[in-house]
């Protein structure tokens, strides 16, 4: 502790010089931390837009390439093919989807829309109002845009192809990338689409890489002799985008690190100057019985203190900058407090202290090792 006190005193003695050295560190820390936060926020924004789509695989009937351009196929998957998908995607959530165009009337309005039917609606949909039951028997779920347009609420009665249903939930808006997009449509009980075939099967895995493996397995096992199904997945594309973003983040941090490195050089300079100026003083300390290691400690404490104070101020400024970035990109300034961002702040602070310590090492070593008799000779 005495070395820390002595160090503080020495720094306060020349406030402008210490302040400028600190300021360099502040800039370095803000550069690293806010560029890191920017990169992380870009990734978060991307993930938010993509939803779970990276983990999903969509299996649809193979298109008949002989049918020619523009031919509308109304092919469906057979029960047997759905069973094959289930058998291949062990451990994943497999949701076969039936789909048919239906007439929907509500009040005086009627519209032709897609109706989806699934055995486990929970796996694919989320409710904004009301709820999504484990299985639909007598109610329907209405897509958000459709509900808005027709002013349908939970509890309203709608008619689907002559059968009347009660609305049990209005669905949350799904991202455009979702394979089954109910925003303009309706989810009905399976009994309503008893005669319809399966238009697709959605397989949801725990991760993008697992989804990618499952997609490969399905292709291999089901299309061995002829092209029966088409397996669509986004995992590869998304993985590519993500790795690009990681590269971008790294690049941004590298740019920030350069400024912190420059700040380290300025600390080196400041410490060298101040040890040269205090040469006699250090010589006296040694003469009156202060050990070499104690002198070393004082000087290292000075450099570290510069780094720590600069780093702490830098962290506060970075939090503000990060708050602004998050406010504009994610609509929530407090998102800056997520662990991923805090990691960048901690890293920048650690880097600042580390580089200051490193920069202080040479001047401190040099000053501590000077023979007191040389220093006092002037």
């Amino acid at each position: 502790m005495p070395s820390l006190l002595m160090a503080r005193r020495n720094l306060v003695r020349n406030p402008l010089r210490s302040g400028l050295a600190c300021f360099g560190i502040v800039i370095g820390v803000v550069a690293i931390a806010s560029l890191g936060i920017l990169g992380f926020t870009l990734q978060a924004g991307f993930t938010q837009n993509m939803g779970d789509v990276a983990n999903q695989v969509e299996v649809v009937p193979a298109t008949d390439t002989d049918a020619g351009f523009g031919t509308v196929t109304s092919q469906t998957l057979t029960d047997r093919e759905v069973r094959d998908v289930r058998r291949t995607a062990v451990g994943a959530t497999v949701t076969p989807v039936k789909q048919q165009t239906v007439d929907i009337s509500y009040g005086d309005t009627s519209a032709g829309r897609n109706a989806y039917a699934v055995e486990n609606p929970e796996a694919l949909f989320e409710a904004d109002e009301g709820r999504v039951p484990a299985s639909l028997s007598s109610g329907v779920l209405v897509g958000s845009t459709f509900a808005d347009q027709l002013e349908i609420n939970v509890g309203s009665a709608v008619t689907v192809d002559n059968s009347s249903y009660r609305v049990v939930g209005v669905l949350a808006e799904e991202p455009w990338t979702a394979p089954v997009n109910p925003n303009f449509n309706i989810v009905v009980p399976e009994t309503e689409l008893r005669d319809a075939g399966y238009s697709r099967v959605i397989v949801e895995e725990g991760s993008a890489s697992a989804a990618n493996e499952t997609a490969q397995d399905i292709r291999e096992s089901m299309n061995r002799r002829e092209e029966v199904v088409e397996v669509q997945e986004n995992s590869e594309l998304i993985e590519q985008v993500r790795s690009q973003q990681r590269l971008l983040s790294l690049f941004l941090i590298a740019v920030g690190s350069i400024s912190l490195f420059v700040a380290g050089v300025s600390i080196l300079n400041v410490m060298l100057m101040s040890t040269v100026e205090r040469r006699e003083e250090i010589g006296v300390l040694r003469a009156i019985g202060v050990q070499r290691t104690s002198v070393l400690k004082i000087l290292l404490a000075e450099a570290t203190l510069l780094g720590f104070v600069g780093g702490a101020v830098g962290v506060v400024v970075s939090l503000l900058v990060g708050g602004v970035i998050n406010h504009f990109m994610l609509d929530d300034a407090l998102m800056v407090l997520r662990p991923g961002n805090l990691r960048y702040l901690g890293m920048a602070l650690g880097f600042a202290v580390g580089i200051s310590l490193l920069s202080g090492a040479y001047p401190a070593w040099k000053a501590a090792n000077e023979r007191p008799v040389e220093a006092l000779r002037g």
Partner: protein
């Protein structure tokens, strides 16, 4: 003998030339004895004092503190011995400008648990009881030298080594400083003062002449 040099030789190698500053010096100081070492500039007075105070090492010969041979000690041991046995008083005072008078006196003890109030007592003893919180810049030359003397005393040394202690003081403050050193001597501390100020002879017990690297 509290501090002693036995046949000490000091040579400096500068390129091809070898400069011999001390050529076999035998010298010693007892507890409670005030010795002045006089001689022209460049005769090796300061080098002798530095070797006696373990700031410098002899090329040949033996240095003894309280009878123990301290010639071959490493830096850490020498620093420790310096702290235990020796107090320095310099011509230019060498106070640390950022510290108050009291903190300057405490400086030698900061890394070993503080002076435990002794610094304040010493400042009162040297007549600066009302200047404890002053920085060196706010003190006169005589006051600075008295702070330096208090600092030299804080570890209760057995010997005080003074290099031109009156060199930067006017006659009156010089006399005050010498009287203070004389009083310390009478309390049992050995003092070696290197100087060309003839006045010091009025206060010392013994005078030694150093010329061309030998004690006359």
């Amino acid at each position: 003998m509290i501090a002693r040099l036995e046949n000490v030789v000091k040579r400096y190698d500068s390129g091809d030339e070898t400069l011999t500053v001390l050529e076999g010096v035998d010298f010693g100081v007892e507890r409670g004895e005030f010795v002045t070492v006089m001689g022209p500039s460049g005769c090796g007075k300061t080098t002798m004092l530095n070797i006696l105070g373990l700031l410098d090492e002899p090329s040949e010969g033996t240095v003894r503190l309280d009878g123990d041979d301290v010639t071959g000690l490493d830096d850490r041991e020498r620093t420790e011995a310096r702290k235990r046995f020796v107090g320095f008083v310099f011509q230019y005072f060498y106070l640390i400008p950022s510290l108050t008078a009291q903190e300057n006196v405490e400086a030698p003890t900061v890394f070993s648990g503080g002076s435990g109030g002794r610094a304040g007592e010493l400042l009162e003893k040297v007549g600066l009881g009302d200047r404890k919180e002053h920085k060196p810049a706010e003190l006169s030359g005589g006051q600075k030298q008295r702070v330096a003397i208090a600092r030299a005393l804080v570890n209760s040394p057995d010997v005080i080594l003074a290099d031109e202690p009156t060199g930067n003081l006017d006659k009156e403050t010089g006399d005050e400083t010498l009287q203070l050193i004389r009083d310390l001597c009478d309390e049992g501390v050995g003092v070696v003062a290197v100087t060309h100020d003839e006045r010091i002879k009025d206060y010392s017990d013994r005078d030694v002449e150093l010329d061309d690297g030998v004690v006359l």
